[in-house]
């Protein structure tokens, strides 16, 4: 459907910029992509970017926020069907697989990114950490998991996943390491948390 109002047009333009930025960040890297590159890739003037995002960091944050929205929707959906830890891990991986090229760049470049961008990623991690821990505690009450401190539970999972993502060229034969290795990682993690 064509946007009719000025406000709708503004939302469409903003979404186009976020999607274009995500694609370019995935291809060229976040540090190496300029706002001019993003504008050019969708045939917009450079000035349009700044109407929506005052700084380049704001654009990067908007892309990470988009990732966060998808993650939160996926977690919500997972909880409607299954509250188990395995379901939470799979929900997390589904979103990572969907945005894998961008996310792999993000975690590879994270130490080089400014605090404002890095803190946005860490907030997302905090949300994942919360969901993992809640799910682990539910499993524990059913006698299916052991006690693990929240930061180490999260760091063990994310360390495993990020290692495969950062080195996806050697862990996958195709385009998605999550698609190829995701089930193995989930099964392995589930054995680690067993009582």
């Amino acid at each position: 459907m064509q946007p009719t109002t000025r406000q709708e047009q503004k939302v469409v333009t903003r979404d186009r910029l976020v999607n274009a930025a995500m694609a370019l960040f995935a291809r060229k890297g976040i540090v190496n992509t300029t706002t001019a590159d993003v504008a050019k890739s969708i045939h917009m003037s450079h000035g349009v970017v700044f109407l929506h995002f005052p700084t380049r960091d704001d654009l990067v944050v908007a892309v990470i926020d988009e990732f966060g929205r998808r993650l939160s929707a996926e977690f919500r959906q997972a909880f409607e069907h299954d509250l188990g830890l395995r379901a939470v891990l799979h929900a997390h991986l589904r979103v990572l697989a969907e945005l894998e090229p961008f996310y792999a760049r993000l975690v590879t470049e994270a130490p080089m990114l400014p605090p404002k961008v890095r803190s946005t990623l860490m907030l997302l991690h905090a949300a994942v950490s919360y969901e993992l821990f809640q799910a682990l505690e539910r499993e524990r009450k059913l006698g299916r998991a052991r006690k693990i401190d929240r930061p180490l539970l999260f760091n063990t999972w994310i360390g495993l996943v990020h290692h495969y993502l950062v080195n996806r060229d050697v862990f996958a034969t195709g385009n998605s390491v999550i698609a190829e290795q995701g089930d193995i990682l989930v099964n392995h993690f589930m054995t680690l948390v067993k009582p």
């Binding site: 979404d15 976020v18 999607n19 704001d58 988009e66 966060g68 929205r69 998808r70 939160s72 929707a73 919500r76 400014p114 605090p115 404002k116 890095r118 803190s119 946005t120 860490m122 907030l123 991690h125 905090a126 950490s129 919360y130 929240r150 930061p151 180490l152 999260f154 760091n155």
Partner: protein, 84 residues
């Protein structure tokens, strides 16, 4: 693209459910964590401390790193913009 929900004007937390908002009122600009029992915005130091705790408890990062991240996160939020 996924549907967007409002974000807290103080800490940026997405507010998806009524209980995420101050006093459960969806017209309020701030979340329940950044406000007191009357729905008023808490002082900056208190909001900062909540966010620092959030980073430390969830990922085990150092307190110094968590403070840097939380300050960067809050700096351009409507409630605290131009504070420094």
């Amino acid at each position: 693209m996924a549907e967007k929900c409002p974000a807290c004007g103080s800490c940026g937390m997405p507010m998806e459910k009524p209980e995420d908002f101050a006093l459960g009122d969806v017209t309020r600009p701030y979340c329940r964590y950044c406000t007191d029992a009357r729905g008023e915005l808490l002082p900056y130091e208190q909001v900062l401390e909540t966010n620092v705790g959030f980073y430390v408890d969830s990922q085990g990062v150092t307190r110094a790193a968590a403070i840097e991240m939380a300050q960067a996160m809050l700096a351009d939020k409507p409630a605290w913009r131009g504070r420094h």
